[in-house]
Symmetry: C2
C-alpha cells in the first residue's frame, strides 16, 4: 500500500508537455485543419499579399513568455497575428522569385511526419526506407543513374553546396578533407555562366575556395553560357598553372529560365576531366514533361545534380535534393567516424544507410514523407502535365505581351519565366525603370498580383515566374491589363507633375 | 455568350493539385489528426521500437508511381507501411543518442506552417516577424546579448557550420570569402576538446580548413577540456608560425554531457584574440533551469553560439539556432549581391531583415512557427522545469546504478546523460563488452527501451540520454531491472557454452 502511494506521488510530481486533455487537443487539431483548408480553398478570393500592419508588428515584439497560455489561446494568437499575413505564394497570382505553392496534402504530411518525429540520420526505421524510395523515384524521374547516391536537403542552396563539396574533394590534388584547400598545389577554379544562382557563389565562398575561384562566363542572347568563352577560360587557367576542376551547368536560370547546353558542357567536362555539376533548382523538373525533356538533355550525365521539390513540384517548404553519380566520393566528402555513432549490425542503428554521412546534417527530419505522399497522390505524369501547363502559361503571357504595343518582352521564354516591362512605343526610356518599379509596387501593395523584378541589360524588368499549380490563364490576362492601366496612369501622372 | 463559353472551356482544361472535393480533404485531415493524437496518447502502451519487417521494406521498394492513387489511398498506405515503424523517440523509454521527443502542438504547428507555406528568405510578411521574435526570445532565454544576430537552422550541425564560417572569415588575415583559405598567409588552426561533436570536424573539413586544422585537446576525468593543454597547444601553434583563430567550447558533450569551463575559455579567447564558439547543442538549454544555469556560465560571452530546439526543447525536427554576437560579421560571411534579390524599399521585398543573407539557405521554411507556438504554449519556466527534471532523472538513474553491485557507472553525470554497464564484481572484463552489446540489442529488439552505446576508455558503455518529457522515474527503474536480468542471463548462457 505504502509503495503504491509512493509510486503515485512520484508519477504526479513529474511533468510532461503532453496535453492534460487529449480530447481538447484533438478538437483544436480539427479546427486547425478546417481553417487551413478554408484558407487554401478560398485563397483566390483574397488579396495575394498585403503589407504587415504596424499593430501586428508590435504584437510580434512582445517579450519572452515566462508562463504558458495553453494551446487554445496560442492558436487564437496565431489566427489573429500570423495567419492573415502570409507571403501569398499559395495564391494563383503569386509569381515572384522562384517560389512554389504547396498543396493541402503536403501540409498534412508535414504534420504526420512531425507527429512521428523521427530523426533520419540513419537506422532501421520506416522513415529511412521512405527516403531511400523517394530518392530512387527522383532518380528515375530525371533519368539519373540508379546507382547514384542522394540526399533530401533543405533546398537548392544546400544541394549545390553538397554537390560542389563533393566536386572539390573528389577532384583535388590533395586530401582536402584532412589537409584543407591550402594543401592543393595549384589553385582550384570552377566555371559557370554569369546568370548562375547566387547560391553557387555562396557555396564557393563557404568551401574556402573563394568567390574569385568562380569564373563567371558570359552568356549569349538566350542567356545560355557561351561555350567558346568557357573553353577559353579553362584553357587560360591551365596555361596560368591553375587547376580547373568543375563546371556548373544551369537548368533554368533564376532570371530568365535559360537552360545551358548541358550536353556540350558534359562533353567539355569529359574531355577536360572536370566535375560536371548541374544546378537544376527548378529547371531540372522540365524532364517530367515529355515535350520539354529535350531541353535538359545532358543533365543525366552530370556528376552531381541539385534541384528543389518545393519549387516546381509544388511541395511545401523545405525540400530539395542532391544526387551524386559517385556514391563513394559523395560519402567521403562528409563522413567522419565517431564512437557514439558506431554502426552496430543489430538493433536500431542497423539499417540500410546513414544519410548523415552524405551531407551537413546529422539530425534530419522526415521531409521525405511529403514527397512520398505527394508523388503517390498525384503520380509523376500529372506533375509532368503541370510543369508543361506552367510553361504554356508562360508562352501565353509572352504572347499577350508581344501583342501589346505598351509592353516589351525583355528576354526569351524557354521555360516558365517571363520578363517584360511597360514601355509604350515612343516613350522616354529614362523614365521606364521608375515607372515599372511603381507598377510593381502597385501590383503588390494592392494585392492584385506578385511578380518580382530583376535587371536585364541594366533595365528593370517585371519578372513573372510560374511555379504555381493554381494559376489560370485568366490570371495572366488580369496581370497584363493591370500593368497597362497602372503604367498609363503612372506615366500620365508623372507628366502632370 | 460565346466569350463565356470560351472562358469556361479555358478554365476546365487547366489542372491543379488542389483536391476535387475539399470536404474529403477536410475529413481526411481530421482522421490524420485523430490518428496522430492516438499515436502519441498511447505511445507508452507500445514497444519503443521494432525492426522493420521484410514485407514493409519490400513495399517501400515499389516503383515510381506514374498515375496518382488519390489522397485517401495514400494515407492508407502510410498507415500500413510507415506509421507503425517509427524510430521510437516519441516513447517515454527512448534515450538513444541525443534525440528529442516532439509534442502534439509542435506537429500541428508544422501543418499550419506548411499550409501557409511562406519562404522566409526575407520580406514583409508575418513569418519573418515571427522568426525575429523567436530569435529575440532565444537570446533572452540564454542570456545572450540582445544586439546579436541569429538564424533558425536545420539543427546543431548547421548552427556549428554557420558559427565557424563567421569565425573563419572574421579572424582571417585575408579576404577569405573572396580569395579563399589559401590566401591566408599563415595556416589557420582551431581548438576543441577530444569529446567535441563530429559536426565540428565536418564543418572544418567543409570550410576548406581541413580536419588537421582542428586541434583535439585532451579532457580531464570529468571529460572537460584540459585548459593547460589548450594553452600549450595555442602557444605551440603560434611559435610554429601558424594562426590560432578559434576555440570551440562544449556545453554538453555528446558522450557524457560534460560542460567545458566556458568562462575560462572565454578568458583565453579574449587574451589571445580568438573567436569563441560554443557548441551548446543540448547543453545550452541548461540555462533555462535556475539550478543548472551556473554550469554554462561564460556561454553568454561567446562570439557565436549553436544549439538545438529539437533536442532539449522537445520540438519536432528540424530546428536549431545559430546566434552571433557580431551581426555585421555574420552577414558578411554569407551575403552576396544578386539582381533578382535587390531589396526594394516598398512592396513584399521590403521588411526588416533578409535571413537568407545570414546562412546557407536562400529558401527557408516556417520552422519558426513551431518554436513560437510551443514557447507560448508552455512558457519558458516550464521548459526550465523539464530540463531540470531530466537532469534529476539522470541523477536518479545514476543512483540506481551506483546502488547495484552488478552495474558500473562509467562517467560523471553532470547533466542528462548516464553511461554505465553491466559489470558484476569479479567478472572477467574481457567478456563485458560483448555482454553489454547483447544487452543493448536485447533492450532495443524487444522494444523495452532504447539506449544507445558509446566507448569510454576503450570500453563499451550503455548510454542513456534523457531529452524526453515523457520519461518517468519508473521507466528508469524498469531499465535497470532489465539490464541486470538480461546481463545475468547472457553471462550465464555464455558460461554454459
Amino acid at each position: 500500500m505504502n509503495q503504491k502511494l509512493d509510486e503515485k506521488a512520484r508519477l504526479t510530481e513529474e511533468e510532461t508537455l503532453d496535453p492534460q486533455d487529449w480530447g481538447d487537443m484533438r478538437r483544436l487539431g480539427h479546427r486547425m485543419v478546417d481553417d487551413a483548408m478554408d484558407y487554401l480553398e478560398r485563397v483566390r478570393e483574397r488579396p495575394v499579399w498585403r503589407p504587415v500592419p504596424e499593430n501586428v508588428k508590435a504584437a510580434l515584439r512582445s517579450p519572452l513568455p515566462v508562463e504558458g497560455q495553453g494551446a487554445g489561446a496560442v492558436y487564437e494568437d496565431f489566427r489573429r497575428t500570423v495567419f492573415p499575413h502570409g507571403m501569398g505564394n499559395v495564391h494563383p497570382r503569386f509569381w515572384g522569385w522562384v517560389i512554389g505553392t504547396g498543396t493541402p496534402l503536403g501540409a498534412l504530411a508535414d504534420m504526420l511526419g512531425a507527429a512521428m518525429n523521427p530523426n533520419i540520420g540513419g537506422g532501421d526505421q520506416g522513415a529511412n526506407y521512405v527516403e531511400l524510395q523517394v530518392l530512387n523515384w527522383l532518380k528515375e524521374m530525371l533519368g539519373y543513374p540508379e546507382a547514384a547516391s542522394g540526399l533530401l536537403v533543405s533546398g537548392g542552396s544546400m544541394a549545390n553546396l553538397v554537390g560542389l563539396a563533393v566536386a572539390r574533394n573528389a577532384k583535388a590534388e590533395a586530401d582536402i578533407a584532412q589537409e584543407g584547400v591550402a594543401a592543393a598545389r595549384r589553385s582550384m577554379t570552377l566555371y559557370a555562366s554569369a546568370e548562375t544562382h547566387n547560391s553557387v557563389r555562396k557555396s564557393v565562398s563557404l568551401l574556402g575556395l573563394g568567390r574569385s575561384a568562380l569564373r563567371e562566363i558570359p552568356v549569349d542572347d538566350d542567356y545560355q553560357i557561351d561555350l567558346a568563352a568557357l573553353r577559353r577560360a579553362i584553357d587560360e587557367d591551365r596555361k596560368a598553372g591553375r587547376h580547373p576542376f568543375c563546371v556548373v551547368g544551369n537548368a533554368g536560370t533564376v532570371n530568365t529560365g535559360a537552360i545551358d547546353d548541358l550536353s556540350a558542357i558534359a562533353e567539355i567536362c569529359a574531355a577536360e576531366n572536370l566535375w560536371f555539376h548541374v544546378d537544376g533548382a527548378f529547371g531540372a523538373l522540365a524532364a517530367l514533361a515529355p515535350r520539354l525533356k529535350p531541353l535538359v538533355r545532358g543533365m543525366e550525365s552530370a556528376d552531381s545534380l541539385a534541384f528543389d521539390l518545393h519549387k516546381w513540384m509544388y511541395m511545401p517548404y523545405e525540400v530539395g535534393c542532391a544526387l551524386v553519380r559517385w556514391p563513394e566520393q559523395h560519402r567521403a566528402a562528409f563522413v567522419s567516424p565517431a564512437d557514439y555513432l558506431a554502426h552496430l549490425e543489430r538493433g536500431l542503428p542497423a539499417g540500410p544507410i546513414w544519410f548523415s554521412e552524405y551531407g551537413v546534417q546529422l539530425s534530419r527530419g522526415f521531409r521525405a514523407l511529403k514527397v512520398w505522399m505527394s508523388i503517390k497522390e498525384h503520380g509523376v505524369s500529372k506533375y509532368g502535365r503541370l510543369v508543361a501547363q506552367n510553361c504554356e502559361q508562360a508562352q501565353y503571357l509572352s504572347a499577350l505581351v508581344t501583342a501589346s504595343p505598351e509592353l516589351e518582352l525583355m528576354a526569351p521564354v524557354p521555360l516558365n519565366i517571363v520578363c517584360f516591362r511597360f514601355a509604350p512605343r515612343g516613350t522616354d526610356g529614362g523614365r521606364l525603370d521608375k515607372a515599372n518599379e511603381e507598377i510593381l509596387f502597385g501590383l503588390q501593395e494592392s494585392g492584385t498580383a506578385v511578380p518580382s523584378s530583376t535587371r536585364l541589360g541594366g533595365r528593370l524588368a517585371l519578372r513573372v515566374c510560374i511555379c504555381n499549380h493554381r494559376t489560370r490563364r485568366e490570371d495572366l490576362e488580369l496581370l497584363v491589363r493591370e500593368v497597362i492601366e497602372r503604367g498609363h496612369k503612372i506615366m500620365g501622372e508623372s507628366v502632370r507633375r
